[in-house]
């Protein structure tokens, strides 16, 4: 099949070419999509390539940090904000992080044999919002709502979060391999006085999940109230259920120490 490449040179043009997303394959950095094409699981007809759409910058806009969907993970890994930087450094290797994008990390659907999108946990903990377009036009929503919705019909434009002094903790289990997704990743943020606790967990199912029960109780074992881990090629659900409370406990302990 002949692929038609759409090459928008602005975010508005990208949104207009995307329309409602029907029949359009979004191409970010290619790190997820190209193996799918090589394996014959994806057969794009119209490919919306975003590398010239001007969505590739991370900027500090007053009290907000705004991250374009095409910002490479390598930029996050070197960013001064340690919550995202440390999470980004655990994804792929340096070469993959130069190609892989923030938008692709949160927008790509889970694969049959593994979940994707380890930035979900820290972005939930940061209280991030996602600006996307699609049917009904542009909208901004909390990342946990975006993740829980129908991502297939949305084109992510930007991710943003508010800047204020935070304490954070992070814990995770992963294999040291550039192409292996994590077994479980936990990120925890709170204001300097300990209030406004937010906890995100990823690597445990099709999307990252916000753990409201632990936010209320501050008891690590309550992570399993919100999280129902899956069996996949990376780890068993039983193993994830066993280690998650420990990981959440570690992340909460770090929060207390910082």
């Amino acid at each position: 099949m002949t692929v038609e490449a759409l090459l928008p040179t602005s975010a508005d043009e990208a949104a207009s070419l995307y329309g409602d997303g029907a029949g359009v394959t979004v191409v970010g950095g290619g790190t997820i999509l190209l193996p799918e094409i090589a394996e014959g699981r994806e057969k794009p007809g119209r490919a919306l390539m975003l590398h010239r759409a001007g969505l590739d910058t991370l900027r500090v806009d007053g009290e907000r940090v705004v991250i374009g969907a095409m910002t490479p993970l390598a930029v996050l890994a070197d960013a001064p904000d340690e919550v995202l930087a440390s999470a980004a450094r655990n994804i792929g290797d340096g070469e993959i992080r130069r190609s892989a994008t923030v938008g692709g990390n949160i927008a790509a659907p889970a694969a049959a044999d593994s979940h994707r999108g380890d930035l979900g946990a820290p972005l939930i903990a940061l209280g991030a919002r996602v600006r996307s377009t699609g049917t009904g036009g542009e909208r901004m929503e909390p990342i946990e709502d975006y993740l829980a919705g129908d991502r297939a019909g949305r084109l992510v434009l930007e991710v943003e979060y508010d800047r204020f002094e935070r304490r954070f903790g992070a814990a995770g289990l992963r294999r040291r391999h550039a192409h292996s997704y994590s077994i479980a990743t936990v990120a925890v943020c709170a204001r300097a006085d300990g209030s406004d606790l937010r906890i995100g967990v990823s690597g445990i199912g099709p999307t990252a999940v916000r753990c409201r029960a632990v936010e209320q109780s501050r008891a690590a074992g309550d992570v399993l109230v919100d999280v129902d881990p899956v069996d996949d090629a990376v780890a068993s659900a039983a193993y994830r259920r066993t280690v998650l409370p420990k990981l959440v406990g570690d992340a909460l302990d770090q929060l207390e120490r910082r």
């Binding site: 002949t2 692929v3 490449a5 090459l7 191409v27 950095g29 290619g30 790190t31 999509l33 190209l34 193996p35 094409i37 090589a38 794009p44 490919a47 390539m49 590398h51 792929g92 290797d93 340096g94 070469e95 993959i96 130069r98 190609s99 040291r176 391999h177 550039a178 192409h179």
Partner: protein
Amino acid sequence: MKLIVNGMEVAVVSPPLTPLLHVLRDELDITSPKAGCQQGGCGACSVLVDGEPRRSCLTPVAAVDGASITTVEGLGDRETLSPVQAAFHNHYAAQCGFCTPGMVIAATALIDRAGGPVARDEVIEALGGHYCRCTGYVKIVDAVMAASRGEVEPIEDVPVSVEGEPEVQPKGSPA
């Protein structure tokens, strides 16, 4: 589309989502980048895109339209190996050789960026996505560190091509 491959501008006619790897190998006959796993997991296909190492199997060619691509073919030649290539030769850092082009590309980028001696853990981080199925990692890391310190000995046993002989000859056992 066009690419500047090893300093030469070339027109590309492959479809836009063709991996850069296959454009280089199949359209342009540049075969140092290897099609290993083709999922980004092995590093055998890495090339420099505007000086930065990237997996060519994960890079749609249209996304790097106009970019400068460097493969091992653009680093040195038979008589004048690049410092990293010479260090790999000196330290017996290539066994079967399949991972070597990707390793050399990643090491070259690391040393260019550092501009001086690099530590063992920096090499391990930079080469962390590159698999050597012969498990020759110790000699590879030694070679990269030596190259970063400028410790490159002259190459005296590079095989000379003879008319009618294969272009590439086995170097023989280090013993």
